[in-house]
Symmetry: C2
Subunit: 725 residues, 2 copies
Amino acid sequence: MSRPASEVNYRGRYSEPVPTSNLVNDEEDFPEFEPFEDTPGPRGWPMADSSSLAVQSVDMCQQINKPNHFTTAYDTNNLVIRRGQEFVVRLIFNRPLTQGDDFQVEFLIGANPSPNKGSLVAVAFGARSGGPWLGHILEMQGQSVLVGITPAANAIVGKFRTYVAIAAGGGMQRTRRDATTDMYLLFNAWCPNDAAFYPDAAGRMEYVLNDLGVIFQGSAKAMSQRNWIFGQFERGILDACIYILDSSRMPIYNRGDVIKMVRKASAMMNSQDDNGVCVGNWSDDYSMGKPPTSWTGSVKILQQYANTGVPVCFAQCWVFAGVLNTFLRCLGIPARVITNFNSAHDNTGNLKTELIFKPDGTPDRRNTRDSIWNYHCWNEVFIVRPDLPPGLGGWQVVDATPQETSDGLYRCGPSPVSAIRSGVLCHPYDCGFVFAEVNSDVIYCKRDRYGTLSPFRVDKTYVGEIICTKAIGSPAPEFVTQNYKPREGSAEDRATMAQAEKYGCERDHSELHDSELSVTIHTPKVRLSDDVNLAVDFSNQSDAPKTVKAHLAGSVIFYTGVTANHFKDEDFNVTVPASHTERVMLKIKAQEYMPHLGSQLTLHFIVTGQAEEQSVTAIEVIDLETPTLTMTVSGLPQVQQEMFVTVSFTNPFNFPLHNVELAMEGAGLMNCRTRFYSVIESLATVSWKESLIPRLEGHRCIVAVLDSSDLRQVRGSVDVVISKA
Amino acid sequence: MSRPASEVNYRGRYSEPVPTSNLVNDEEDFPEFEPFEDTPGPRGWPMADSSSLAVQSVDMCQQINKPNHFTTAYDTNNLVIRRGQEFVVRLIFNRPLTQGDDFQVEFLIGANPSPNKGSLVAVAFGARSGGPWLGHILEMQGQSVLVGITPAANAIVGKFRTYVAIAAGGGMQRTRRDATTDMYLLFNAWCPNDAAFYPDAAGRMEYVLNDLGVIFQGSAKAMSQRNWIFGQFERGILDACIYILDSSRMPIYNRGDVIKMVRKASAMMNSQDDNGVCVGNWSDDYSMGKPPTSWTGSVKILQQYANTGVPVCFAQCWVFAGVLNTFLRCLGIPARVITNFNSAHDNTGNLKTELIFKPDGTPDRRNTRDSIWNYHCWNEVFIVRPDLPPGLGGWQVVDATPQETSDGLYRCGPSPVSAIRSGVLCHPYDCGFVFAEVNSDVIYCKRDRYGTLSPFRVDKTYVGEIICTKAIGSPAPEFVTQNYKPREGSAEDRATMAQAEKYGCERDHSELHDSELSVTIHTPKVRLSDDVNLAVDFSNQSDAPKTVKAHLAGSVIFYTGVTANHFKDEDFNVTVPASHTERVMLKIKAQEYMPHLGSQLTLHFIVTGQAEEQSVTAIEVIDLETPTLTMTVSGLPQVQQEMFVTVSFTNPFNFPLHNVELAMEGAGLMNCRTRFYSVIESLATVSWKESLIPRLEGHRCIVAVLDSSDLRQVRGSVDVVISKA
């Protein structure tokens, strides 16, 4: 490994360079014979001879260890185990052990391994046992010795090299480097002493072992769901995760610390700062890579990154969250993807998300700086927090999407969910940032002729309206809003907000009169290419009729709330009798919005009204529904037996689709395959049948996505239960 | 300004790009006439005519404002003021004000300034007053109006553009952009509402206004001091500080937050990660730049960085601390340089600094990973911490030297000194890291033939032995060790250590027998090129005589404790009678160490002894004393009067000095000047007289440094009191 130029300046800083990679030159480990440094006895060292003990083979006992460590699913030729839990190794010697034989099994990781840094672990047996990893002899049968070894529950996580060394002839005689005995050591959610312990079996099945996920998207009123193949057990993924850590140059010594690992992972999933895995793109121009909507899961992204070393184009929040989830589960850390509907992205660390309106009541987009994402995805990990006072362990927010700036860098967390809930924002990492994402108030401000802002409405419930994740053992949503915040208006909620303000989170305390006039919008679900019918209700709670000068503005927006294209402005008047609600129906024809969609499928309507001195506003976000793919499977659903999957799609629109890419993938079933159609005419049907040979048993799923320049976010999936071979 | 490529992908993320620079294109501000957006009255807007109010000139009243804001010393043509404190502006209109005249003064910073982000502030008078910056009219005399303006105590810090706008003719009529009315706004240590408030006048004089510092170096036993010109008021330094923030791309919106500013500054003073100000170099090869020892202060470094945009070569810890101190004081944040003698640099976040010895008792340098710096310099800032529970404000550690990895990046702090003292390590930022620097135990370990380590001695008092800073109003050291830790062994100390362990700081708890044998080393001060006489005392507390097999190892080390060159190994035996101390005198001749010095001037001796099963060790670090420069001043010491300084040096050695650079500098007196001598022969004298014209009055100092490839760290200084012009 060549060292970066900067290290050349550091000769006088470090006694040895700090290792930052699992890889080493094979020559860098021990010599096969290492003489003792201490003084020989009065008669010198005993000579090694033909009666000396020697190792003939080392068997990592994968068939025994993998089921015990829940690592059978990993598609790798090497042993994968979890720390803090015993595994066995079978040593075959040249002869049975006798009194006075002195051997040890050694595990090394990274360059310059060192016993006091935990990167060189010698496991001794008998008199000398008692190092950080416990060893004992389980069974001796002639030349065969079965040893049990328990790695420390805080051991370094990564790929260890295994040696057996025998004290003989004035030194240590070692086995040669043998890549087949390399061993992956992971975090262990099953081990109570591991910082990544998860206390419940069903939870471990979901949060560590489930390789298929569901990510919730859309809007709070109309949630949609997207299947996502995490694929943490697929070929090359574990190596890719280690490659990511190595290319981050994270010191090997820190890789036993789950807090540091998680924080580093949140930084490395995005390409900012550190040439990490995914390149964010919210431009609507994805010509230099694949559109964020076109991925079926994390596998292809991680494989491409590990093969090329170059960040993968392109991602948006659910892609960052999906890939980070794969990374975390792959290394054994309990993790899940969270969706926060109406997520505030405020860039000055306070709790005010300000939407600005012109003197005439219409939206002032030029002067509005804050944005509210329709939804934002992040991750949670379940870990212990020994660095914090009691009560702050458990679920922690980690966010890999490059945000505005969280502590000056593109990473976020781990941030204890319990700290967010109670407003205790004084601990690392990034609690204030996450708190604002779920708790900001939306402040509607009018900007006067001088540029001065005055609030006319404050909405304290819109942001963080729903927070959810996939439920354990089911594709349904589990609502975790109450983990993040007490019920709006409760005494606990007031205590939380007061606590947060003590830690410098500024809130709005404008005293606003209750308005006698209000407006709300109701819409049914709308399919792409259908007309939109908005029912706008103006309510007048006063004793006198009111004449409202109203305005409808319609835009296509990104899911980040940012306007992509503005397509409609319409003035209208409505007179509302005293103590009455008046409904106005507004129709937006498909041809009004269709030409402005680009790759977005979200419409944003804002109705503003002015009556005398009163201003009212209502916002409606509509996610257009897309058609779905039809998928079926056939053949015998059994491990190692060929079976088939068919995906078909009919273009329901009155326009052709161009440059269509169809992709499908199933973890444990088939890797990602794609097919290209240059055009699918209006009302035409395409159908594609693929063969597959399942690798893993159990409940599995194949996910497909159709992506074209005219239409994105067409998805489908099919479930299948695979029986044992 | 061209935007980086990454931002192009972010069109759908931000409504407007987040400004990250004080600079803007002049065209980007307001048009000179900006029509109102609200609807004109029934008779339209009144026409602007010759009776309309117009601005003839804007005077920033530097003579009044600068003394009130303690900013007279800044060598800049623009107004410099501190936030949260009133300043005055004189406006000359075309006619006296009349009823109904409507004007405002506007302050803008960065691109896309926005009133709700504090980057566009409109100060109105009379009926419309009441924005975040208070304004009132102080005096009207005909066409001349004197207004008083008080910036918010949490305003953005940086360079604001000033406009005056008058409402007339259906819009705002503005003054043109005028760079002479640009205004620097700083933190205010005089303002109780400012997060950078310092409560005591003498402290503010030292920690904000003193532009000369003293940095302590050497060893705990033999401290030396180095004058350092902070020079925060010198020409171009304030602009350089803003340039640093701009090139860090720190959002303008965050620049009112002193915590974020300080943290960003610690990251930006080093070139790692972010192309910051100084390049660290501990290699002994400084041929690609200036040796760290050769600087007289921060001014030249900051000027060079701002002029070239390229990191400056080279720095070690006192240079990073000196430059950061300039930055902080320049922006108005109370700051001082701290020296921690015997600073542990532990890279796994625990409290064990392990020194490893071979089975025969001699040092095992290959396997020793941890290092103890003879001294390490960092900074403290005095700020409020609203983000933390009460009691954690006040002095905070900030460290700009690139450390191993503090949270994965090269920056450190702000970390509350009071949290370090009490072991409360659960708050941001980097408390655990600083805690280890001052509290680590030194564990002497023997490495057996198998590579297993066992401790034989634990020293709990060596690390962080002395922590000091320059005293207020004097060049003497002020010892602040007790701010960082309770007295060793006190009940409070035990409580602190227990608290720190609760937060995951692992300590050594080996039970070691009190050794009956001990060894200590005593040395007088040693001048460079003198012989070294070590007095080594072996004490035997047992009832039987002991024969000690002893070893002396001598090295030249970097101040980081890392070995530069090993020059001596000597075995000797000593027999110590029961209950007796035996002294052995060891002489190391000058010719033994002189050829191995390189640019280092620190010798490191380690005596190890073995008697039966007992091992003893003593370490002695000797900083060689260098000759000093002789300096005198002559002429009338008065502002704007020519005077002279003479620096002279006699080479006291029996060898010539080659490639000698002599540099001198005095803040408020003269900028840095250098002179080159290709050779100074043995016993030869050089003398150099320079003319200077003092700019600032008061107690001032000229600092000189001589640097050659044969000899570094030759310094001198001369004090002078300058009277008013």
